[in-house]
Subunit: 277 residues, 2 copies
């Protein structure tokens, strides 16, 4: 299994604090050492970082923990390979362009529907004639991302709908992925849609024979800001000293990153939409 | 105008030597200081690095000059903005997935056909119903890349053709882009198709009122290897000491990077295909 980190902000924010703790889990405080990746929205563009090294050893991860990139929206992933070998094409987040918008996807879980990645899965109105996105690597996660985008393109041929329509449609698509496999499916994902919008979905669970719980937790930090201590490394930050009164930051992650009041576990089947925090 | 660097190799090769000289032109020995980018194929995956900082100042550029990533195929670009503002979405190389393959594109020049990037251009058999790829940013370069991929998808709905058929078709598409605008067009590009294959096309020229010549030069290094000195920084390498007998490396760039016999300027309208060197 893997771990996810997302951040969605009302104003461009430096994510190095959260990433500092998260990357320790990639081989140091936890076992997710089969590569890591991050996609960071900047304007309409997207900075992508992918490495097959553990996050705790990767020179690229070290660089972006110290390089002050500020963003409204980012997602990151540390991988513990359960499907697909350890190779760059299997490192999340995956990215595609649809309607001139950069989309990005990171997943934690097991999806029986996508277990055979050689076979196209048609969600929503997708048909064999309307398949546009194809997986490059071998993961069920990338196959699911492509199937979701194919369904979006088939449903909205004119382009991006309103965010509330998009939210409702994604909810239907998630139901379709779970339907009839609710016991065997673990499906937690972060989906970035352009520079301001991040979707988080949770269908949590533990793999057969394992006690490790895979869910999603989130916290929304807004004034008055307080201090927080990272759980994975001895590092404390006083947010009131580094924030502005209009700041608001949502952090979504597999397991809480800090000793701090306000972390909430997402409900089963919940799809949250964060837009500018 | 911008400058291009591509490398295509018979065996995975470290490109830090070429990149070291090339990045100096991004703000130090030349004026191409409006961002830089590189895409580096690794297996079926793709490492992407983009920055709006000049290449000579970018911490990310410094990192990958020193981080020994070895690859069969890579392309890089330093930008001097003539169309589209200085922003991450306008930084080359651009990337898209087609047929489950990562494609990547970097361009130097001016294309009157794509001067109005709000308007879709249909190349080959593309129609308004078969447009799949859309530009995210504002450059004529990304618009051209999307139009080329849309034409490929319309022509070969079943997937990737043989490389010789692909080469021939790309030649036709380049003719279509130049046709009727041969005097006003400067169109030098590198197009990466998956982990082994790189296309280089040159339609060289100088912009009106400028003496700067925009073309493409290439060199193929193979045994017996000799030494080469970078032109942009005081650095010499003895290739015979760092290579194996089966190595063969093609380097393609706007202007030769080294004092070395063997650099050849591409002919007007020439489309070269490099496959594993």
């Amino acid at each position: 299994m893997c771990q996810l980190l997302g951040m969605n902000c009302a104003a461009p924010t430096d994510f190095s604090f959260s990433l500092k703790g998260f990357c320790r889990r990639g081989g140091e405080t936890d076992k997710h050492s089969h590569g890591w990746g991050a996609t960071i929205y900047e304007g309409r563009g997207l900075r992508c970082f992918h490495d097959t090294l553990p996050a705790c050893q990767s020179p690229i991860a070290e660089l972006i923990q110290n390089y002050p990139i500020r963003t409204y929206n980012m997602l990151a992933h540390i991988r513990y390979a359960t499907q697909g070998e350890v190779s760059l094409e299997n490192v999340h987040p995956f990215t595609r362009e649809l309607w001139g918008i950069n989309w990005s996807f990171a997943h934690n879980g097991d999806m029986p529907l996508f277990a055979n990645t050689d076979q196209d899965i048609f969600l929503g109105k997708t048909t064999s004639d309307t398949v546009h996105f194809n997986a490059v690597g071998d993961t069920d996660s990338e196959a699911a991302f492509c199937a979701i985008l194919n369904a979006l393109k088939a449903e909205f041929p004119e382009g991006l709908p309103t965010l509330s329509v998009l939210h409702e449609f994604l909810n239907h698509i998630c139901d379709e992925i779970i339907a009839g496999r609710s016991e065997d499916t673990i499906f937690n994902f972060l989906l970035g849609c352009g520079q301001y919008t991040l979707f988080a979905y949770s269908w949590p669970g533990a793999r057969s024979g394992s006690t490790v719980w895979n869910g999603l937790h989130y916290i929304v930090r807004e004034p008055p800001f307080s201090t927080a201590r990272l759980l994975d490394v001895d590092y404390t930050i006083d947010f009131s000293a580094v924030t502005q009164p209009n700041d608001r930051v949502a952090v979504i992650t597999t397991k809480p990153l800090t000793e701090e009041a306000g972390w909430t576990e997402m409900k089963r089947g919940e799809l949250l939409m964060f837009d500018k925090g």
